[in-house]
């Protein structure tokens, strides 16, 4: 059926004409006939509305009318609407972007079946930095009745040799339960069988590295240094959230390219396998019950393996907690900060709407006079706010998309799971909800001003009522005061973080990370004999060749890969597990000079030590040799904690102490470190360090080409400056500073606009008063002072309130600060000065305008 209301108008017109015609036929004049017809018909508008009301409930109809009217109002003042929509788009967009990260990191379940039952397990205690579990415990834990799956795995970067190609790849070795735990299915082929050296490829790797050729299924491959057979390809959407090695934290996140099945074997011949471990609790089993059972099992296992040192420590955490727990406080602070920006934006818009509501008093009064009820007017004003907010929110979603892209590109490793952030249904619902709540918040202000309107007063007066406008200026001043206070809180937070960052990156003299290049070779002995000697010869050759590159001032080598070893001192008997764990590197003679390490006492190592020699840093000296001189002590370093003694470990002499230097990770306290001369060690992954003159980017390609050319079979990493490594190590911190800084900047800008708006408006209202003052002899300077004082009162109250609030709020951030106290006076003073200067700048325009008022014009115009 066609719309029955479509031709209601013409139908009624037709009716009236017929009626009139009948009257004319009876002898009336056409005009009289027309009015008679109308009289007989009744109120045409009312008839139409009643007919419409049959089909459309009256309330809906009115809302549609209000919407139309609101859209018309938005269009009629494009400048005002643009300012409001843009403010909202930026504020809502930033909120949506941050929420999408919170959603991905904290709210979305992990990518496993039964994610809430997954636990991460380790035998070490918190803060020890060591997270691997020995094979004996993995085997023991398999008996646990509180777990229904237990996976031992490891993750590392290496190569896949397939189809005659050498493909760099991220690999994961996984034990049998992995496939069930991850809920993996094969898109192609099948899942690996238990206990078999079988390989499963990620779809992306299969597609991009292997050209999606299904012939790879069943083909022999070498994965890292293991041989196996590819049996399947995972679906494109397959993804697991595994806890990566700590050394990956500073790298851009990367999906695992190939998984291969491993078997966990009991320790034999002093060789112990170490794994990362995740497990799945049986349904209904509490994590506490699991903790108790797992510790009991470990104690029993330890009794059966007396050769392996045992400490009754362990951590069993929900996997989610382990993955994202550290990011939570940061994200919540950012969410609060970005909400504050929205609040500042709302205050600005409310202030604008108030000014406009005052200007619209006459329109609203007329509507009241012709019978619009108060409720109807409120609804209409709220709908206008809603139209603006939804337009702002919709634009905000686009802004959010852009923000998210920037965050992910800029610092992808800053927050775990950041790459999974997207604008999904929940995020869009959030944006909509925020828009609606925003509309209610900023829509409230003009509603109040309407509430008090007396149609009679407004219409009688014909001009804006002075008392109402004065009240409006007062309310707006309070709003802007609130803005200033909130902005100050945000700026203080951002300021403290910036200062922390500055403290962290204040490098000691002699350490020039910008001019220092590194390149790492994961030396592969490819089944050669006498590997220690080969490694040393290789290192010596690379060092000598790099020295020859022009622009290289110093070159050295280190094996530091974040490895900790237990150290013991000759003549001091302590149980194995109480020996200190220290960072251990094998280094060359040139290393100290190349990296910029300062010798505090004794001497640095040479490449010609007659026997094993060591240098320790000050942190180690303080911890292990308190009150003693470490030089001359005989020490030895051993295999990893939990492992049995590495073969051939010898005692050596400490020959020197170096100052602590953070050359790998910036925002932690200096750790005890020990350096051994590489000629008496077995250098595994070798990192070559070259201090260069001039632009390091010019030398980098030469350096890499040279190192790669020495032995083509060795995998050579990209060349990086030490500074970029350091910067990556504080990615989460930089992410927080960047975002909080952006939010604080946005808030400051909004506050500037807000102050300007109120003062300019107030000057425009006071033109006459200013004219009178000038006519009575006030100088231009006096007038300016009056205007500035009004602005500075707002700013000062805002500063006082804001400082009090900031003192309380920044305490929450203590965990994010480095070498700065939450209430740092210097930061607070700087921020207060910045806000005051901004407020002053905002008042200058209106003050100058006031000073230029011509008293004659001002008095004549009203």
């Amino acid at each position: 059926m066609t719309d029955p209301l479509a031709d209601l108008d013409s139908e009624i017109r037709d009716h009236l004409e017929r009626e009139a015609q009948e009257h004319v036929n009876r002898g009336m004049t056409p005009e009289a006939a027309r009015s008679a017809a109308l009289r007989k018909f009744g109120n045409v508008m009312h008839v139409k509305e009643s007919a419409r009301a049959v089909w459309i409930p009256a309330a809906v109809d009115q809302v549609v009318q209000d919407l139309r009217y609101a859209v018309r109002m938005v269009r009629r003042s494009p400048g005002f609407s643009a300012v409001v929509i843009l403010t909202l788009a930026i504020a809502i967009g930033m909120n949506t972007a941050v929420f999408s990260v919170v959603n991905a990191v904290l709210l979305r379940p992990l990518s496993f079946p039964y994610p809430e039952r997954l636990v991460w397990l380790t035998a070490s205690e918190a803060g020890d930095g060591f997270e691997l579990v020995g094979a004996q415990d993995v085997i023991g834990w398999r008996e646990a009745t509180s777990l229904d799956r237990l996976v031992a795995y490891d993750e590392y970067d290496s190569r896949v040799l397939a189809n005659g190609l050498v493909l760099p790849a991220r690999l994961a070795s996984v034990s049998d339960d992995f496939w069930d735990l991850a809920g993996a299915t094969a898109a192609l082929g099948r899942r690996p069988l238990p206990g078999q050296p079988e390989v499963m490829l990620s779809y992306a790797f299969f597609e991009h590295a292997l050209g999606a050729n299904p012939a790879i299924i069943g083909a022999p491959v070498q994965v890292g240094n293991r041989r196996g057979t590819v049996v399947g390809v995972l679906p494109p959407a397959f993804h697991v959230d595994l806890v990566p090695p700590a050394s990956f934290a500073s790298l851009a996140p990367h999906e695992i390219d190939a998984y291969y099945g491993i078997v966990v074997r009991p320790p034999q011949n002093g060789m112990l396998q170490l794994f990362r471990v995740v497990g799945r609790l049986k349904p209904g089993v509490s994590i506490e019950a699991a903790r108790a059972e797992l510790l009991t099992i470990r104690t029993r296992t330890a009794a059966r393996n007396p050769a392996i040192p045992f400490k009754p420590t362990q951590r069993v955490l929900p996997l989610r907690e382990k993955l994202v727990g550290a990011a939570r406080p940061r994200l919540l602070i950012l969410l609060a900060a970005v909400a504050a920006v929205l609040l500042v934006g709302c205050a600005n818009i409310a202030s604008l709407l108030l000014a406009r509501a005052t200007a619209r008093q006459k329109e609203l009064a007329i509507r009241t006079a012709v019978g619009a009820g108060r409720a109807r007017m409120l609804r209409q004003l709220l709908i206008e706010s809603l139209v603006l907010a939804v337009a702002g929110g919709a634009t905000g979603v686009l802004v959010a998309k852009a923000c998210l892209e920037v965050m992910r590109r800029l610092i992808p490793q800053a927050v775990p799971r950041l790459l999974e952030a997207s604008l999904d249904g929940r995020v869009l619902a959030f944006a909509l909800a925020v828009s609606v709540v925003t509309a209610l918040v900023f829509g409230i202000a003009p509603v109040f001003s309407v509430w008090k309107i007396s149609a009679f007063d407004v219409l009688k007066d014909g001009t804006r009522t002075v008392s109402a406008t004065a009240a409006s200026v007062r309310v707006r001043s309070w709003l802007v005061t609130g803005e200033v206070a909130l902005t100050l809180v945000l700026l203080c937070g951002a300021g403290l973080l910036v200062k922390s960052l500055a403290r962290i990156t204040a490098y000691p003299a002699g350490f020039v990370p910008q001019q220092t290049l590194t390149v790492t070779v994961a030396y592969n002995t490819n089944g050669m004999q006498n590997t220690e000697v080969r490694r040393r010869e290789y290192a010596a050759e690379v060092l000598q060749r790099i020295q020859g590159i022009s622009g290289v001032r110093a070159v050295g080598m280190t094996t530091n890969a974040g490895g900790r070893l237990r150290m013991f001192v000759e003549g001091v008997t302590v149980p194995m597990e109480e020996r200190p764990t220290v960072f251990h590197s094998s280094v060359s003679e040139g290393y100290a000079q190349a990296i910029g390490m300062r010798v505090a006492s004794g001497r640095w190592l040479t490449d010609r030590e007659p026997e094993a020699a060591f240098v320790v840093n000050e942190a180690l000296a303080r911890q292990v040799f308190p009150g003693e001189d470490p030089i001359g002590k005989r020490i030895q370093v051993d295999g990893p904690p939990g492992a049995t003694a590495a073969a051939g470990a010898k005692f050596g002499t400490v020959v020197g102490v170096v100052a602590n230097l953070k050359y790998a990770k910036l925002d932690t306290a200096a750790e005890p470190e020990i350096f051994a001369d590489y000629r008496h060690a077995n250098p595994f992954d070798m990192t070559f360090v070259a201090r260069v003159d001039g632009d390091p980017r010019a030398t980098a390609p030469d350096l890499r080409a040279l190192v790669a050319g020495i032995d083509r079979s060795q995998p050579v990493s990209d060349v990086k400056t030490v500074e970029s490594v350091l910067i990556d190590s504080i990615a989460p911190r930089r992410f927080t500073v960047f975002l909080l800084g952006t939010f604080a900047g946005a808030a400051l800008l909004l506050a500037l606009v807000g102050i300007y708006g109120v003062i300019a408006y107030s000057v425009s209202l006071r033109t006459r008063e200013i004219g009178v003052r000038m006519a009575l002899g006030a100088a231009r300077g006096d007038v300016m002072r009056i205007v500035l004082r009004q602005g500075m009162v707002i700013a000062t109250v805002g500063l006082v309130v804001g400082t009090a609030a900031a003192l309380a709020a920044t305490r929450v951030m203590t965990g994010l600060l480095y070498d700065v106290t939450p209430g740092d006076p210097a930061t607070f003073a700087t921020v207060a000065a910045l806000v005051a200067a901004t407020a002053l700048a905002a008042c200058c325009g209106p003050a100058l305008k006031a000073a230029r008022v011509d008293p004659l014009d001002a008095l004549r115009c009203e």
């Binding site: 031709d7 209601l8 037709d14 007989k40 009301a53």
Partner: protein, 112 residues
Amino acid sequence: MSTKDTRVELLQGTLDLLILRTLLLGPAHGHAITRAIEQSSDDVLQVEQGSLYPALHRLLKRGWIAFEHGTSENNRRAKYYRLTPRGRRQLIVETSKWETLAGAIARVLRPA
């Protein structure tokens, strides 16, 4: 109006019944329906002509009448309303309801 004292206001709800009754004779446009009601009641019943339209839409919504576009006697386009089978059944129901009501009121006013 004072000159036509014999005219009475239409009772609430009876307009629907009158429209259905009128359309029983055949399709008609809005003005024709008003005229028919006025004439067949010997001009006693006074309809405010406009109120016809909301009533028509009420009946359309209930599916008792339908409309189509046609051309009237003097070649003007008009909207013609007609009774649907459901409307025909409803007319019987409404008529008997009215007669029951009218009879009851008559008995009250002139007790036997």
